[in-house]
Structure formats: structure tokens, C-alpha cells
Symmetry: C2
Subunit: 171 residues, 2 copies
Amino acid sequence: MQTQTINPSATEQMIQMVLNSWTNQNKAVISFFNKYNDDAYLNEVAPGRNRAIYLLGHLTATNDSLLPLLGLGDKLYPELETPFQINADDKKPVKQTVAELKQYWEKVNATLTEGFAKMLSHDWLERHTRVSAEDFALDPSRNKLTVLLGRTSHQSYHLGQLNFLKADLKA
Amino acid sequence: MQTQTINPSATEQMIQMVLNSWTNQNKAVISFFNKYNDDAYLNEVAPGRNRAIYLLGHLTATNDSLLPLLGLGDKLYPELETPFQINADDKKPVKQTVAELKQYWEKVNATLTEGFAKMLSHDWLERHTRVSAEDFALDPSRNKLTVLLGRTSHQSYHLGQLNFLKADLKA
């Protein structure tokens, strides 16, 4: 890519586009979980695959882990890590209801949005909290922007799967 | 977001992160289609859902349409639009083989990569070719970067679905 002089505001615009992309995926996830009666989400999204409620817990736990990873604070719901990130879907009753997980999802994303608003453009190019200064010097792409782009793709990935759910219990 | 003075190279770094994210998704798609015997991709990814070969055609046609949309040239395979973008999967034999579609996929992405290498950072914040100057003035987020971010999410979305394919015919 060629070098050029560019207005500093271009960097802010670019961050805004990435944040828009993130927010759009967040909205698509919650729209999906507002579409049917809560019971519908207890079903597997396809035969033998994860239940929709598991994927909601998984996505919530994953976004929650962004708070410490981006240096924005502690996890809000650390209890979600074991059942939804470390363990695979065991198909047993989930401790949280769909309604509770939806609340957690909204709370986590609202907290992230607040944190993002306080970040300066160049903060996004700084290392995330799980890479050492030494490793970051070797690979500066291990920054906060890369983390957010990865998590945005992660949401899209599971959203594609969620949309396979066959449900006829309209909310 | 607060304003700050920032090195122009920050914009180039940001673009590079977005392009890395795009490239990672491209690689994940082709890795998936290199995993099994070609015949496996003639199956539906889940009961009653799209066949994997259809999704390969769909992703290829979608990426091909980026060439005109980003002002990088004409589509390479316009014949893919009707069967894989306009029409849903009709479950009839596909005209192209999996091997052919994989070649098209690689050719389209290589051509896009060449085009991206010639773009300056600020080109990404310019309007894409399907939005008018008037509409763009009202909503500057309708730029080329937003298009690429959207298509990256699109790839992740279908990749999540592709990974549901049950196949035991290792390549």
C-alpha cells in the first residue's frame, strides 16, 4: 500500500466503520433471539448440533471476555466461562433462562460500547492484554482492532448457524 | 471518540488489519473445501439446507461482485450470478464442478488482492460504485471499507454453516 498524507479524522472514520460492523452483528443476534418464543431456543439449531441457548451463552461469554482482553474492566459474568466457553454443549438444562442470557448479552454489549467510546483511535492499534510487549514487537497485528474484527467474524459465524433453527413458535 | 494527532501510517495499519481479517476468512473457506473428497460437497450442509457446492458458488459470485462494486474491474464469472445469487439452491446438478468453483474462488480472490494493493488508504473511505454522490453525502458510511467489512461477515456467516456438513470422505 502506498504512503500518503491523510487527515487524522480518517483513522476515526475507519474505527467507526469497524464499530458499526460490530454493532450490526450484535443487533442481528438479539433480533434473532427476539423472533421466537423463548422455548424455541432450547432446541438444537440442526440435528446433533449446539442448542440455540448454548450459542447465546457462548456468544455472551465471548463478548464478556473482551472486557479484560481490551483493558476495559473485569468480566461481568465470569460464571458463563465454564459452561459456555470451556465446555461443549452437554444438552442438559441450562442454569440461566433465555430471558436472563438475553439481559446479560445486552448488558455486556452496552458496557463494551461505553468502553469503546472512551478509546482513542490509536488505542486500537495497541497490544491487547494477553500478548506480551516482546511478542507484540514481533507482530504488531496482535492489537485490539484485530481482536474486535475477529470477534465480529465469530458472531457472524454462529449467526449463520443460528439461522438454521427450525422454529414455528413466533414470539 | 476524542480527536487526536496521529501518524498517517495508523490508517494504513488499520486497513491492513481489515484486509488480514478478510484474507483469514478466505483461507478458512478454501481450507474447508480442501478437507474432503469433492463429492462430499454435493451434500446439504444440514437437512433441507443449502448444499456446500451451492455455498461455494454463492461465496464466489459474491466476492466476484466486489470487483465492479469497488471499482476494480468487471466480474470474472458473471455467469455465477443467476444460479448462485439470484436463485436459491434448487438441488439440481450444478453446471460447474467443485474443482472448477474452487479455481474460480482462488482467481477472484487473487484479483481482488491485486486490486486492493493498488488502493490508497483514503480510497477505502470513498463511496462504492452503487451509491450516488448525493446519497453518499448524506451517509458517508456507505464507503468501500464498509462493503469489505460486510462481505467479511458474510463469509464467516456461511462458513459457520459449512462447518455443519457431515462428511467422512477425507480428501
